[in-house]
Symmetry: C2
Subunit: 390 residues, 2 copies
């Protein structure tokens, strides 16, 4: 018996960090609650102390998050409800009929669904096929560019198999061609280094509640200077109130209405935790766990693992199937009998499952985070093995 | 000296509840933190226990909030980031070029700014002028309707002077004409009864963090059966993942991406608190405080109060100016010298200030909530009086 499953204790192993990370650092709980209890004012809405305190706390969070991505002008970092909203803001704010968009066959529905809508309104979409392990060939992407390509949109790493895309390589090429690059970093932010300057990222969208360790209800969009987005949501911003037109001031232009102040402050605490731990340490632990997991899964008879074979090429997100048992049953039994939480099915990414050959049945996905342990991986492997042997 | 200002104690009086309510009930802090610490899963995204627990908690919050507004089909209650997002979803989801919209001269920028954008895209907007106290004449609104009027959009009560609009009267007329009614209840939800059935409200948008006592980062949109809105945000919903088209299922169609689970659970706790206290009690206390405030302000020389004279005709939101002193200075000194937090300026509502004759200087706004006390009102009146006398 693994050290996870102590006699009498109820085991719970959370392996669904690609959906949302859990647990969060204690600092995140404290910061969120502290904001809720003490920063009662509405940031940017009044001159009184509680509004100013809230505004200062939001600014501090903005600066902390900006530091992680090397965003110099912090006002160009927009807080949103989630990564999906950020992606919609970028895509719908930039593209209009006649524009050409290049993307990949590994994208999440958070990108595919708004693109599907845009396509019906006259945007031409070219989807570059990735290989069966989810790998994008940058050359193929570059070949797909046209003179009227208005945007390249690429997932930084797959939420199904964790395959990492070479965004810096794509970014540098895109920059020389003058085509903006939108990166969906929902699976990588907080683990892999992302430097919007060095990597030539023009639009960066990501969740706040996954690798960034913030609360659910947070996401972000970075908009590089020079990129003009039509605001998707307009309204009160506490600035230029006399003007009926949406203000041009950043971040106000894209942050209409009251922010999720406690969430944003919690997100700031999550990113502070990451900056203090260091990406290298976080990534190192994730690679170690992924290596252990991949080796173990490959050793179990009848299990097929998808995605790149090496942990270094992927995030700690591993999809597998097992002969003779459908993914839903495996997931259900892992939870019921062993207290292991995975996510089965299509993971909101039908295109990715088509690419890796697991559509429409899907896979069982194990997605780990910084707080998972080697013991948990071993307990999972033992559990799966014993389940499949029965 | 009022009982608020005890010797040696630092006085803080929060009179900016129309921006965001503060404090929240203890139950809201506990529920939000509890969700963050214990409901770690992503609701609707997996079959494991933590995802299901989160989904159940969100459903419970949805049912609680629906009860307050007599929304029978709770799936038609959409959780959003804020009221602004809800209004944008309603307006931009419904209206297109050639449509006619009727609204009022007391609307907030959260409505006026998206409308301004729609107007530039071919939507015809008719703004019905309200009187100097912010009162809407329902007859004038009805006269403004045309055969191609596609929507009536009305603020339930002004965020500047608190004037309450007769939404049920408007709703009943709109229903006979077959024109949908959108109500912005940011200032009234949690204080005034709103019954979407009896009041014939087709679209109800409101904040979660004002009178509903939830955390910032929450808002809602109710969409009556039969009202078709194009989704503003598309993406992963955890449902019909194989389909690139946005699902038609409610609430998923309008809730793409991860929800603000802790915020929504906190909002549920806020509304539960309201349902237990009872709207009559809450409204009663607010009317009492408003009466005290109006009487006191009217008795101070040089002070001009805007809006209806009777507390019963308005929300606990009172705007005033004082001879010889600009609103910004009054607000600043109330905060610096007396610890009283108000909001000065245009309150994101230039149209309303034009209507009441206080544009562009604005007013000082005192906005109270259920947790304010008569002692605080008296302390404020004493403070203002002494300040103006100096």
């Amino acid at each position: 018996m693994s050290s996870v499953a102590r006699a009498g204790a109820v085991v719970q192993v959370y392996f669904d960090n690609a959906s949302t990370s859990y647990p969060k650092p204690e600092e995140v709980y404290r910061a969120t609650l502290g904001a809720l209890e003490n920063l009662g004012g509405n940031p940017g809405r009044a001159g009184h102390r509680k509004s100013l305190e809230a505004a200062r706390a939001v600014l501090e969070a903005r600066e902390t998050v900006a530091r992680l991505f090397n965003i110099e002008d912090t006002s160009r970092l927009i807080f949103t409800l989630n990564a999906t909203t950020a992606l919609n803001m970028a895509l719908k704010g930039l593209l209009s009929a006649g524009d050409h968009l290049v993307t990949t066959s590994m994208e999440h529905n958070s990108l595919m669904r708004p693109i599907h809508g845009l396509e019906q309104n006259g945007v031409e979409v070219e989807v570059v096929q990735c290989d069966i392990e989810g790998r994008l060939d940058p050359g193929a992407l570059i070949n797909a560019l046209k003179p009227r390509t208005r945007l390249i949109a690429v997932i930084h790493a797959s939420n199904v198999v964790g395959t990492i895309n070479p965004i810096a390589e794509i970014g540098k090429h895109a920059r020389t061609r003058g085509i903006p690059l939108l990166v969906d970093a929902a699976q990588t932010a907080g683990s892999l280094p992302i430097d919007v300057e060095a990597d030539c990222v023009d639009l960066l969208a990501c969740s706040g509640h996954k690798g960034l360790l913030g609360p659910q209800g947070t996401g972000l969009l970075y908009i590089k200077e020079g990129i003009e987005l039509e605001p998707l949501i307009e309204g009160g911003t506490g600035s230029s109130s006399e003007d009926l037109a949406q203000p041009s001031l950043f971040p106000d232009r894209y942050e209409s209405g009251t922010l999720n102040t406690p969430g944003v402050v919690g997100l700031g605490a999550g990113v502070k935790y990451i900056l203090e731990a260091g990406l290298e340490k976080i990534r190192g632990r994730e690679v170690k766990l992924t290596t252990l997991l991949l080796e173990g899964l490959n050793a179990i008879e009848g299990v097929e693992v998808y995605g790149p074979p090496k942990a270094e090429e992927r995030m700690p997100v591993v999809s597998f199937t097992a002969k003779g048992m459908d993914p839903a049953s495996i997931g259900q039994r892992l939870d019921d009998e062993f207290g292991i939480m995975t996510r089965v099915g299509l993971h909101c990414s039908p295109a990715a499952h088509k690419t890796i050959g697991t559509f429409p049945e899907g896979t069982v996905r194990v997605s780990m985070g910084y707080f998972n342990t080697g013991d948990e991986v071993e307990y999972f492997l033992d559990s799966l093995d014993s389940m499949l042997k029965r």
